[in-house]
Symmetry: C2
Subunit: 497 residues, 2 copies
C-alpha cells in the first residue's frame, strides 16, 4: 500500500474543527469521560472489565463502527472493530488497553473510581471543582483524577471526541481505523498473543499505533519507536521456621532480611550498575540513526529531578535516554515482618523481594532471569522454585525460592522508518513545541506481538501528560492533553491520501 510514501499531510481544517468542537462541548466530553472512568478496571477483575468492554463497544457502535468482542474463559475480553472511512486510502491499527493497575495505596486523595476534576495538579495546590455544565469550559491545566485517566483510557476519549468533532463540522474521514482493545495489559498481556492468533485475519493494517504512555516531559508531542521488554521475579530467602524472639536468638539464628539485603547489595551498586554477570552483554548497540534522534531530544534531567522530587540520579554520569537503552534491575517491593508501630522484637521467618527487569532490545527474558538465578546460586544459595521442605530448612544455611515471571522481549522500529513520517507530522501539527522522536520508551508494551503475529510496523502515539502518576496513587490526565488527543485524532482521521 505504501500510502505514506505518496502523501503529504495537511491537517489544518480538521484540527480547527476539533478545537472548535471541544471548546463548545467541553462539558459533554469531560462528563462522558468521567462516566467511563467511574467503571472500576483493576486488571484481573474480569467482571468489572466486562462492564468496561460493554461501554466501549456501545460508544463506538453508536458512531458507526461495527465492533466485536472475543473472550477466552476467565480472561478479560479483547475488543476488535473497524471505523469505516470515505474512500479510505489507508488503514491504521489502533491498540489501547482498558484495564488499569491495582488501587491498594492509601495515598489516593479521592476514590480511584470516583473521578474528580482539580484546578491543577495536587502538587501545585489544585483543588477540586465541579465538572463544568453545558457551555462551560475548564483550564487546560486542570486535571481529571482517577485510575485509568491517563493509563490507558484517555485514547478512547480522544478518538471518540475526534469522530464527533469531524461529524459536527461535516468533515469526511479518509482514514480507516482497525481497533484492538485489550483488557489484560497491566497483568502482562498474558493472552494477547493467543487473542491475536484467534482474530488476526481481521487485523490487516498499514501501521499499528500503540496508544499508551505519556508525551514528552516538556509537554511536546511525541512519537516513540520502541518499548522495553519486561521480566521479573519474586525472591524469598528463609530464616527460622517461625518468627523467633530476637533477644534469645538474634545473631545466632540467621536473619533472612539481612541475608536478603546482602544478596541485593551484590546485584546493583550505588551508581546504578547491575553487577550480575552478563547482564548487559546481549543488549543491541545504539546505531547512528538512534544517535541522531537522541541528539535532537530535549534535555529532561533537571525537570525530572524537580518534578519527581529526588536529589540525584543513580548513574552519576550520563543521560536519561542512555538508561532506557539498557536493561534495569528495579526493586518494586521488599517485605519481612513489620516496621513502624507494628514492629515486634523478632527474627523474621522469611524475607521477600519483588523485582522487575526492563529489557532492552536484544535481551531474551528467560535468559536474563537465568543470569539472576545463577548469580544467587554463586552466592551460595540453593535456588528452589517452591517453598523449602522442613528438612531442607534444617540442612542448608542459604535457601532461596525464585519465582520467575517471564514477560516478553523489547521491540524497536528503526527511527528512520518512513511510515512514521505522516504520524509525526500530525502530532507536530496538533501539539505545541514540535514533535519529539524517541527511540524507545522506558515502559513495556507487548509490541513484539504486533510484528511477530500481525506482521506490521508499529509506533507509539501517546497523549497523556508525563506527570500523570501512572501505576501509582492519584493517577490523572491533564485536560489539555485530552484536547491534544482529540486534535491529533481529528487530523489523522481526516488526512487524505
Amino acid at each position: 500500500m505504501q500510502w505514506y510514501a505518496r502523501s503529504m499531510f495537511t491537517p489544518g481544517a480538521a484540527i480547527e474543527a476539533a478545537r472548535r468542537y471541544r471548546t463548545d462541548h467541553a462539558a459533554h466530553i469531560l462528563r462522558d469521560y468521567a462516566g467511563f472512568l467511574s467503571i472500576p478496571n483493576v486488571t484481573g477483575d474480569v467482571a468489572a472489565l466486562e462492564r468496561n468492554a460493554t461501554a466501549i463497544v456501545d460508544a463506538f457502535t453508536e458512531r458507526g463502527a461495527p465492533m466485536s468482542v472475543t473472550q477466552l474463559d476467565g480472561v478479560a475480553p479483547i475488543i476488535t472493530g473497524r471505523l469505516p472511512a470515505v474512500e479510505a486510502t489507508r488503514t491504521l491499527g489502533v491498540y489501547v488497553h482498558y484495564d488499569g493497575q491495582p488501587v491498594d495505596s492509601d495515598a489516593w486523595l479521592s476514590g480511584p473510581f470516583e473521578p474528580v476534576l482539580r484546578t491543577a495538579k495536587i502538587e501545585q495546590d489544585g483543588h477540586t471543582i465541579p465538572f463544568p455544565d453545558a457551555g462551560g469550559n475548564v483550564d487546560p491545566d486542570a486535571r481529571i483524577y482517577a485510575r485509568g485517566a491517563s493509563d490507558d483510557k484517555a485514547p478512547f476519549a480522544a478518538i471518540l471526541g475526534a469522530v464527533d468533532a469531524l461529524d459536527t463540522a461535516g468533515i469526511e474521514r479518509h482514514t480507516e481505523l482497525v481497533f484492538l482493545f485489550e483488557g489484560e495489559e497491566e497483568a502482562g498481556s498474558t493472552h494477547l498473543r493467543e487473542y491475536m492468533q484467534l482474530i488476526g485475519d481481521d487485523l490487516h493494517v498499514d501501521l499499528w499505533l500503540i496508544c499508551d504512555g505519556p508525551v514528552h516531559p516538556t509537554g511536546r508531542p511525541q512519537v516513540v519507536f520502541g518499548v522495553r521488554g519486561y521480566c521479573g521475579f519474586e525472591l524469598t530467602v528463609y530464616g527460622p521456621e517461625r518468627e523467633l524472639h530476637s533477644g534469645h536468638f538474634g545473631n545466632w539464628v540467621p536473619n533472612p532480611a539481612h541475608d536478603l539485603a546482602r544478596v541485593l547489595a551484590t546485584c546493583k551498586d550505588d551508581s546504578g550498575n547491575v553487577l550480575i554477570d552478563g547482564f548487559y552483554d546481549s543488549t543491541r548497540p545504539v546505531d547512528d540513526a538512534d544517535r541522531s534522534a537522541i541528539a535532537d531530544l530535549p534535555p529532561v534531567e533537571e525537570q525530572y529531578r524537580q518534578d519527581l522530587g529526588f536529589g540525584g540520579h543513580e548513574p552519576p554520569d550520563g543521560t536519561y535516554i542512555e538508561q532506557l537503552l539498557r536493561p534495569t534491575f528495579n526493586i518494586r517491593g521488599i517485605h519481612a515482618a513489620n516496621t513502624g508501630a507494628g514492629a515486634r522484637n523478632v527474627i523474621p521467618s522469611q524475607a521477600t523481594v519483588s523485582v522487575d527487569i526492563r529489557l532492552a532490545a536484544g535481551n531474551d527474558p528467560a535468559t536474563m532471569l537465568e543470569l539472576v538465578a545463577d548469580h544467587i546460586r554463586a552466592l551460595g544459595y540453593i535456588v528452589l522454585d517452591r517453598e523449602p521442605t522442613a528438612k531442607e530448612r534444617r540442612t542448608h544455611r542459604h535457601l532461596a525460592r525464585f519465582l520467575p515471571d517471564v514477560g516478553y522481549p523489547a521491540s524497536r522500529t528503526p527511527v528512520d522508518h518512513p511510515a512514521a513520517n505522516v504520524i509525526a507530522a500530525a502530532a507536530d501539527a496538533a501539539g505545541d513545541g514540535g514533535v519529539v522522536r524517541l527511540p524507545t520508551f522506558g515502559g513495556s508494551v507487548p509490541l513484539h506481538h504486533f510484528s511477530e503475529v500481525l506482521d506490521a510496523p508499529v509506533v507509539i502515539l501517546p497523549i497523556a501528560n508525563y506527570d500523570n502518576n501512572q501505576h501509582a496513587a492519584n493517577e490523572n490526565l491533564r485536560v489539555g492533553n485530552l484536547w491534544y488527543g482529540i486534535d491529533l485524532w481529528a487530523a489523522l482521521l481526516a488526512g487524505e491520501a
Copy 2:
C-alpha cells in the same frame, strides 16, 4: 540480713504437697488460668491492662495479700503487694509483667485471647482438647495456647497455685513476698523507673526474683544472672517524592529499597559480625566465674537447629552462649511498597527498616545508637531525625531518617553471688535434670532499675518452656512447666530460715 548465708534449703515436704495439690486440682488450676488468659493484654491497650490488673489484685487479695495499684496518667498501672508469712526470716521480691506482645500475625491457629488446650505442641501434631473437668488431669506435655500464656502470665498461676497447695496441706509459709507487677514491659518499661521512684520505699527485699523467660532448652530448671540491654532504631531512606513507574524511571531515579539493602549489607556480614566501627569495643569481657558457669552449660546448638528449623547459625564457629555475651544487630522488619499479588511496577518512594540491638554488659544504649548513625553518615547519608523537606529531597542523593529508641543497658549479677544458692537449690529440687546457672539471658528485662533504684541483687527465675513461641503467633505454655512453677514456689514459700 544475709539469710542465705545462714540457711540450707530442705524443700521436700512442700514440693510433695504441691504435687499432690496440682494433681488433685488440675482442672481448677487450668480453667482459672484460662480465664485469666482470656483477658486481652496487648501492651499499650491501657483499658484492657486495667482489667488484667483488677483480676490480679482480686486473686492475691483473696489469698490474704494486701495489694495496691498505682497508675500514672495514660499508662498501665503498676501493682504492688505483700504476701505475709509466719515468722518470716526472708523477704523475696517478685517481679512479673502482665502485658503481652501485639497479636497482629495471621499465623495464630486459635484466637490469642481464646485459650485452648492441645495434647502437645502444634509442631508435634498436638490437637485441641477440652480443659479437664474436676478430678481430671492432663499430660504434662499438653500446652495452653494464648498470648501471655508463657510471657509473662505463667508466674501468677504458679504462685497462686503454690499458695493454695501449702494452704491445703496446712504447711506454713516462712518466706514473705513483695510483689511488683508491671504492665508495660513489652513496650520497653518506659515508666518502670518512675513507678519505682514513687513506690520504692515499700519495696525493700533481700533479693529480687525476676519471673520471666524460659527454662533451659533441655527442660532443666534454670537460674539466670543477667539480661541483655536493649535499644533500637527505625531507619527510612528516600527515593522519589511519590512512587514512580519503574519502566519510565527505573535505574534513573534512585530506588530507596536498593539503597537500604546496600546500607544494611555494610552493617553485618554473612557470618554475623557487625561491621559498624566500635560496635564491640565497650563490651565487658567474660571473667573466670563466667567461664566456669559456661563450661557447665549443656550444649543446645543442635537442638535449637532442629526445633527452630534453620540450617546453620550466623557465626560459623563458636557457641550460642558466646553470642549472648556480645551485642546484636537484628532486622526485625523491613518494608518498601508491595510484594506478592499486590506488587506494582513502581520505584518505591521510601524504604524502612526496623532494627533492635541487644546490648551486652558495658554497652551504653545511646552511644551504640550514635555508632550506628555515624556509620550511616560515613556511607554518605545526611541523617535526619524527621522527614526530609521537599527541598532536601531535591538536593541530596542520600537522605535518611533515623529514629532512635534508647532503651536501657544490660545488667549482670556475678554468677558466684551467694544469694543465688538457695534459689538455685529450690529450682534444682522442683525440676528435673539439675539446675543450670546461666550468666545471661538473651532477652531484655529492665533489671538495671532494680540495682539502681531499689538497691538489691537480682536473679531471674523462669518457669516457661523454651519453645513457647514468645513474642510470635501461637504462644503457649507447656502444662508440665506450670506444674514445675507451682512446685518451685511451694518450696520457696515454705523454706525456713
